[in-house]
Structure formats: structure tokens, C-alpha cells
């Protein structure tokens, strides 16, 4: 049985469920809540952990205040709260405390070492140090209009805090580079932690744990890939490969694709993909997958509908993209050969 069949059956079964609650509920009176309760509370930030217990007596209070103070100081200033891995080909790690002050800056490979030496990070914020690093990267020619892909990985135990920082740093990077007329491709991932395995592999291959996390996720998407193969590639190389292998990279990192599509030299290749895909031609010498984007485009050419799912699947040695679409009152199930672009299956069913 194929994964697709399972998904289809599940989807059909759940779609069949009668959900007739809206009319009943739309005019139902509800009481506006004054404050969030335990049910609606938005994930409590871990900021307010400091104990608020009432002091027992003056001396105890004073003692605990002093303790809390020094502990608080330690937590605020010395403890790593956010770790940032910045990967181009140099790999750099920044550590920041809860106040976003940088308390550590390290190179994770030889290329990074020279850069790190040149930045004085003390008493500066994450955003400031990131900006300075970018200036040096630009100056040293690591980033230019041809090499403009970066991987930004932010690690924070509190996911919301991590995401805020990812967003802020992405803006810093975009700002600095656009000032220099470079439209960057910033791949972004926010992590809560990394496993020992990832760290170990990262060390073995001399890349940052952020980049190793990205690689591991690529392998989870396509078990045919091997770490040895991926670890040696540049970020552009990884992107190109995952495009060729047709992996839906959006499902593992955030990025603004129009930047890549709009400014990258791969654009031409892509178009030819599209052409050969429309009318399946002879297989290229070294077989390459047409890629998720090409498959997406073929599918969009077949039906006036939007894509709701796209996955790379394998069945009896045949690799194909299975694409589900919906639109105009119909559901479509499409399978496109991953290497030839041939449409293997096209089914149209009335949506119910």
C-alpha cells in the first residue's frame, strides 16, 4: 500500500465528517474574557520565571534579595540564552544572553576564524555584531551578487523567543545587504535544541550544528541522500541539489523564494526543466529529478486549481511527485514522474 493511498483514505474519511456546528455557534452568546485563562493563555514566555514568593521576614528577605540579585545578574548576563549560527561558507557562532548582548563569538571553521578576530563583540547586541560581521563578510568578498546565500539558525529553548530573534536578525541581514545592492537569500531555521548526534556530526564534518541540522532535515526528506555528500557542499550547492532532487525545501526552512527565483542564474536551467517537462523528452545523460518547482508548474498547467500537497514518493523504484490540488469544486490527484516529468496519473473528482 502506498503512502499516498493512506493519506487519501484518511483525508476522505475526515472530509466526510459532518461539521454542522457553525450555524449553531455563530450567534451563541459568549462572555468576553477579561484576561486569558489556562485554556487560552498564549505560550507563557519563560521570562517571568523569577520567583515572586513573599518574603518571610526582613532578614530573610534581604538575604534572598541579595541572592536573587546575584543569581539574577548571573542569569541575565552570563548565561547563554540564544545561540546563533551564521553559515555562508565561513561558519560563525554567536552566543547572547537574555538581554541579547553578545557574550561569545566563535568560528566553527578555518574560514570563520579570520573574520571573528576582527570583531569586538563585548557590550554589543546580537543585531550590532551581526551587522558588523556582515560588513566584514562583504569586505572580504564572501558575499557578493553571485554568492548571496546564507543560513541563519537560531537556537533558543523558548521557541517564541527564538523566532523573534530569527526574524529580527533576518531583517538586519536583509538591511545591510540591500544597502550594498545585494538581494540575499536567507535560509532561516529556529531550533529549540540540537541533539548530540547532530553536534557530533557537525564537529566531524567541520560545519555548524545549524548547517548540520539543515542537512539532517534534508536527509529526512529524502533518505537517498548521504551526509558525506551533503556536508561538502556550499549552501548554494545544497539548494541546487535539493531543487534537483525535487525536495520541498519550504517544509524545512523558511525563505523568501522570490529572491532566489528573481535573481539567481539557475533561473534559466529552471525554465528548460519546465520545457522538457511539458513534453517528456529523452532522459538527460545523468538522470536528475525535475524538481519540486517544475513539478508544481506542470501540475498548475494541468488544472485551474491550487496545490494543497506536494511530496516526493517512491514506489517500486519509481520516484514521482504526488500532488494534490483543489479548485473550482474539484479535487485533483496528480502524479508526475520525478525524472522525466511525465504525468503518470491525473484524476479529477468532484469536491464534496
Amino acid at each position: 500500500m502506498k503512502n499516498r493511498t493512506i493519506k487519501e483514505r484518511l483525508r476522505r474519511a475526515v472530509q466526510a465528517a459532518p461539521l454542522d456546528v457553525f450555524d449553531k455557534m455563530k450567534d451563541m452568546p459568549v462572555e468576553r474574557m477579561e484576561v486569558h485563562d489556562a485554556i487560552t493563555r498564549q505560550e507563557p514566555g519563560k521570562r517571568k520565571r523569577a520567583s515572586r514568593s513573599k518574603p518571610l521576614g526582613m532578614s530573610v528577605a534581604a538575604a534572598s534579595l541579595a541572592l536573587a540579585f546575584s543569581l539574577g545578574w548571573f542569569l541575565q548576563y552570563r548565561t547563554v540564552d540564544t545561540l546563533v549560527y551564521l553559515d555562508l561558507n565561513p561558519s560563525i557562532q554567536l552566543a547572547a544572553n537574555r538581554r541579547d548582548q553578545v557574550i561569545g563569538l566563535e568560528a566553527l571553521n578555518g574560514e570563520g576564524a579570520r573574520l571573528v578576530e576582527r570583531v569586538e563583540y563585548r557590550r554589543k547586541t546580537l543585531a550590532q555584531v551581526t551587522g558588523e560581521l556582515l560588513d566584514i563578510l562583504l569586505l572580504e568578498g564572501w558575499i557578493d551578487s553571485d554568492n548571496h546565500t546564507l543560513l541563519l539558525s537560531v537556537r533558543n529553548k523558548d521557541q517564541a523567543r527564538g523566532e523573534e530573534r530569527t526574524k529580527a536578525l533576518n531583517q538586519v541581514i536583509g538591511g545591510v545587504l540591500r544597502e550594498n545592492r545585494i538581494d540575499p537569500v536567507v535560509l532561516r531555521q529556529t531550533m529549540v535544541e540540537e541533539s548530540d548526534t547532530v553536534r557530533e556530526f557537525a564537529r566531524t564534518y567541520g560545519v555548524s550544528p545549524g548547517r548540520m541540522t539543515f542537512i539532517r532535515n534534508l536527509i529526512l526528506l529524502d533518505p537517498e541522500l548521504a551526509v558525506e555528500e551533503l556536508a561538502g557542499l556550499s549552501l548554494e550547492g545544497l539548494l541546487r541539489l535539493s531543487k534537483e532532487q525535487g525536495l520541498d525545501i519550504h517544509s524545512i526552512v523558511e525563505w523568501d523564494e522570490e529572491e532566489w527565483d528573481g535573481s539567481d542564474s539557475d533561473r534559466d536551467e529552471d525554465d528548460s526543466d519546465d520545457g522538457s517537462a511539458g513534453a517528456p523528452g529523452p532522459a538527460p545523460a545523468a538522470p536528475q529529478r525535475i524538481g519540486a518547482e517544475a513539478a508544481r508548474r506542470i501540475a498548475l498547467g494541468l488544472a485551474d486549481a491550487r496545490i494543497v500537497d506536494l511530496e516526493l514518493e517512491e514506489d517500486d523504484g519509481v520516484w514521482y511527485y504526488e500532488i494534490d490540488m483543489e479548485g473550482g469544486g474539484f479535487e485533483y490527484e496528480i502524479e508526475i514522474h520525478a525524472y522525466t516529468g511525465e504525468v503518470l496519473k491525473f484524476e479529477k473528482e468532484e469536491d464534496d
Partner: protein
């Protein structure tokens, strides 16, 4: 419109709402908070299947899942004005559903032994006409763990991207990916052993 642009080979406008995934605009909550009924309806239409699928993964049966769906929407109406935008509207809604389901379990378990109650709950999916479709759903709800169910139902049924699933459930992406594939494999083996045919 997007479609035309792509077919004609023109640069498509950025499509933020990637495949399938219900994209809730956070400003919807402000409008709901201000008592805008259209906004509430829009919210409901956008999320009903996702929310139902997720509720089902929590409570295993249609009847309770409907309850959770309804209660969650009412909670959203009651608390929308308190919502703080954090870029993850779906996460908030799913958390409400989860909290409601857990508090329901606690209530139920005070009355009867919760676990046995849940196990005995007939998985009443009689509205699913195709017996094999029904069997796949019932299997998913019985043999998968809670997390596996959530990941499978959110992605396979509601079309939520893995990354978004991870974000909404507060789990690392790698966990979500491996759980998803492991769950499908488990289901596949289970169904093959029972001779459920591949095609309709």
C-alpha cells in the same frame, strides 16, 4: 490570478500561503475581538477542517472532536481581543483545542476511569461510507501515538506544512518529520497485514 501568472510565465506574486495550509491572518482576531461576525465566519471556514482533524487526533472520536471544535471556536470568540500577535495564529488555536481536550480528560477521569472510557468509546465513524477509508482512519486513531496522530492528521489531512506543524506544536522539525514518516510506515504495515487494498 496566481495561476494565470504562472502559466504565462510571468513572475508570480509571492504566494505566502503555501499549499493547502489554512493561512489565518492575525488581524482576523482583532476583528473577531471587535465583534465582527464576518471575521468569525472567515476564521471558522479557514480552520474548521484543520481544527477538526487536530481535535480528532486528541480525542479519537467524532462526537468529542466536534465538541472540541465548537468549544475552541467559542473560546476564540471570547478571547480574540486578548490575542497578542506573535506570528503563529494557528499555534494559538491548536493550543486552545489541546487544553480543552486535556481538561475534558481530567473531568472524565474524575467520573470514570478515563483511559477505559476512551478505549471503550466506540469509534463511531459510520458517516464514512467507504469501509476501507473508515478502517484506515480507525487504525490511525488506534495504533498511532498522540503525537503521531497529530502530525499525520495535520499534514496529510489538513495540508499543514511540516514546518508549520512543528511550529504550532512546539516540536523540533526533525521530530515532526521522523514521526510523520514513522507513523505512515506503521500504518502501512498494519493495513497491509489486514489486507486493505491499495486502490479503491
Amino acid at each position: 490570478m496566481i495561476l494565470f501568472a504562472q502559466v504565462l510565465g510571468e513572475p508570480a506574486p509571492p504566494d505566502r500561503s503555501k499549499p493547502g495550509q489554512p493561512k489565518i491572518d492575525e488581524t482576523l482576531f482583532f476583528r473577531i475581538g471587535a465583534g465582527d461576525k464576518d471575521a468569525f465566519e472567515e476564521f471558522y471556514r479557514l480552520t474548521e477542517r484543520t481544527l477538526y482533524a487536530y481535535s480528532l487526533s486528541l480525542v479519537h472520536n467524532h462526537h468529542d472532536a466536534l465538541d472540541i471544535l465548537q468549544e475552541t471556536c467559542l473560546k476564540v470568540r471570547a478571547a480574540a481581543h486578548l490575542y497578542e500577535p506573535r506570528g503563529k495564529p494557528l499555534a494559538w488555536v491548536l493550543t486552545i483545542a489541546k487544553n480543552l481536550a486535556y481538561s475534558k480528560f481530567r473531568r472524565d477521569s474524575r467520573m470514570v476511569d478515563g483511559e477505559s472510557l476512551r478505549m471503550e468509546d466506540s469509534l463511531d465513524f459510520s458517516y464514512v461510507e467507504d469501509p476501507e477509508d473508515r478502517m484506515v482512519l480507525e487504525s490511525a486513531l488506534t495504533i498511532l501515538t498522540e503525537e503521531e496522530r497529530a502530525v499525520v492528521l495535520l499534514h496529510a489531512v489538513a495540508g499543514v506544512r511540516h514546518r508549520e506543524v512543528a511550529q504550532s506544536l512546539g516540536k523540533p522539525l526533525s521530530t515532526v518529520l521522523s514521526k510523520y514518516y514513522r507513523a505512515l510506515k506503521k500504518l502501512r504495515q498494519h493495513l497491509e497485514e489486514r489486507g486493505v487494498p491499495d486502490e479503491k
